[in-house]
């Protein structure tokens, strides 16, 4: 009964709160008002139901925290299944084979969706190096995506460079820009770093928009050539499939590279930096070098993805690289599970494929992203697939005796 009253209160509060925005649509010039009372009913019923779910989820989360505090371990069934080595290899090979043959069986439109999915995988994994592994909150990823795309577009326009030459250049330029950004902001951390990177992202976009003489301003650069296969003339569908394979290769290289990165010396230094910057410095890790490395490694992938994006769409303008883009890439990383590569892949599948195939909801895409971001942070901050941490067991009887077996 108490619960019921609470939910009624919540739904009345939300009906009050959303009343003007949801119900009234006014045109001050034509002096007309449209009343949409049905929305009010919708909000009322919706918030009534949701408030029950919200409270139930909060209670569950608190119970879960209590269990975790008492020493219980929550082992995900799904990630346990993926850990099984007998299943893992066939699964990887099967997926790879499926991805290799799929463009021959589906339409160009479907291939396009897969290309953008793979591009987001690359972008997400790149950002994951910075946000997930190194723990630096970075809100300007789209700027480096833009730098990659524009470096191909402009190099092609002014110097006639081809795709394969531009691809490494785009990556290197983006990485250099990333390092250049990282230099001044080395001392900042947490929220300040987030804001500065956001500011930097916006500066890049505004500069692209305002240097109209070079970049074409808001109208962007068009007629960017697709990559050619030797001297063959490819049809539009053929070129699309070709780009698909390029992106697939890029994605595979990225996955392998970032997976291996995490176990390397640099990767460990990055993770140490995330955990405790000061302790990390005390242990003799070069904080400056490691941070620069994180930014360079993360933004290089954004540069590669940008070059491929420019080649795919053959037209780019600054409107594709707004803060929204950065926010989408960030939510891929957050949703998937910060630091976990598999999580990022799953996250981009979730955020790119789902809205594409649910056309009816495409209007609600961004609002669903946003809701997911908030809900994830409140209820499952570790993401869909949390990063698996390496644990080492100590088998020293003396130590075990001293700590009472707590190790």
């Amino acid at each position: 009964m108490n619960e019921l009253i609470k939910s009624i209160q919540v739904s009345i509060w939300f009906m009050f709160l959303t009343f003007p925005i949801m119900v009234i649509r006014v045109n001050a010039i034509e002096k007309s008002v449209i009343w949409r009372w049905e929305n009010l009913a919708l909000v009322g019923v919706g918030s009534f139901v949701l408030s029950f779910i919200w409270r139930w989820a909060l209670r569950r989360k608190e119970a879960g925290e209590a269990v975790a505090a008492a020493g219980g371990q929550e082992a995900g069934r799904f990630s346990a299944m993926l850990e099984n080595p007998a299943l893992r290899l066939p699964l990887q090979v099967g997926l790879l084979a499926a991805f290799c043959v799929v463009p021959w069986f589906v339409t160009t439109y479907q291939t396009n969706i897969l290309i953008s999915f793979l591009l987001y995988v690359v972008l997400g994994l790149g950002l994951n190096v910075i946000v997930g592994v190194a723990g630096l909150l970075f809100l300007g990823h789209a700027a480096f995506y833009a730098i990659g795309a524009y470096s191909y577009a402009l190099l092609n326009q002014y110097f006639g460079l081809g795709f394969w030459v531009a691809l490494p250049i785009g990556g290197v330029v983006a990485a250099l820009a990333g390092v250049a950004l990282a230099f001044p902001v080395l001392r900042l951390r947490g929220d300040y770093l987030a804001i500065v990177t956001l500011g930097f992202g916006e500066i890049v976009r505004l500069l692209l928009e305002n240097f109209s003489d070079i970049t074409g301003g808001p109208s962007g650069v068009s007629n960017i050539p697709r990559p050619g296969l030797f001297d063959m003339q490819l049809s539009v569908a053929g070129a699309n499939i070709y780009i698909y394979y390029i992106v697939l290769a890029l994605a595979i290289v990225t996955i392998v590279a970032v997976t291996r990165l995490k176990d390397s010396r640099i990767g460990r230094a990055l993770q140490a930096l995330r955990e405790d910057e000061i302790a990390c410095e005390a242990m003799g890790i070069d904080r400056v070098g490691v941070k620069l490395m994180a930014f360079g490694l993360g933004t290089a992938w954004a540069g590669f993805a940008g070059v491929v994006f420019a080649a795919k769409t053959t037209f780019i303008n600054p409107a594709s690289f707004t803060f929204f883009e950065s926010a989408i890439i960030l939510s891929i990383v957050v949703l998937g599970g910060m630091g976990s590569n598999l999580g990022v892949i799953l996250g981009s599948a979730f955020l790119v494929l789902l809205p594409e195939y649910m056309r009816a909801f495409s209007e609600y895409r961004m609002i669903l992203f946003a809701t997911a971001m908030v809900l994830m942070m409140v209820f499952r901050p570790q993401g869909l697939i949390p990063e698996k941490r390496k644990t080492y067991t100590v088998s020293d009887p003396e130590l075990n005796a001293a700590t009472g077996g707590q190790n």
Binding site: A28, I195, A370, V374, V378
Partner: protein
Amino acid sequence: MDWQYFSELFLGGLTRGSIYALIAIGYTMVYGIIELINFAHGEVYMLGAFMGLIVAGVLGILGFPAPAILVIAAVVAIIYCAGYGYTMEKIAYKPLRGAGRLSPLISAIGMSLFLQNYIILAQTSDFLPFPRLIPDFEFLEPVAHVFGSSDFVIVVTSALFMAGLTVFIKYTKMGKAMRATAQNRKMAMLLGVDSDKVISITFLLGSSLAALGGVLIASHVGMVNFAIGFLAGIKAFTAAVLGGIGSIPGAMLGGLFLGLSESFATGYISSDYEDVFAFTLLVVFLIFRPSGIMGKAKVEKV
């Protein structure tokens, strides 16, 4: 030196600066108490402008006189946005107390995107015209081309509200509780301050000022759009940083400083790079003097 041009830029900067200061106070108060950059604060300002538009539209059709509409629109916007600020805190930030610093920030970004898309879905993504609600004042006749009645109203109203806030913080019991919580939350709680209530009030006050700013600027510019909050929010945040985040007089000073310097930069350098200038100022300040004009340097304990 052309004094006429200079004074035009100065007065224009004053108007901008007052609005930035109004929004910046919300950032600075929230940051001072829970050390969170409330990313969605700019969206509250945008919501305020929309509320103002809706109320003004309805009352305009009913035939109210313009000044009355302005006052009612501002009051309604303040009440609603205070409600939004309060609810936002309860949903997106309160369950995250003590969950590290990354999570609340991402949640705030989510909230900001949510509010923008909420407006797009429920209203429109187009630019909407906002009616002119402030009549011309006779005593401003000689300078009306540089400092019109809406500039005057903006500067005076925001000055009044900021003065009111200062008095509130300084002399009321709640204000004292807020200052105590900002200084040391745990200690304040031990001494009987209800910190949840203080945080709620902080959000209420900050959102009210942002809503007021939204209504005033919308009637000044004559345009409303779902995206206005993002840029204004970043700029107000810049103002808060310039003044030293966490300090309320700092936010007011920082707002004025940013408004004036932006106005002079667009007037004397180039108007194309207006927004670039604010962002650059933000980056430069964060790098060289993150404690701002009024703030104190923070010492980190190891």
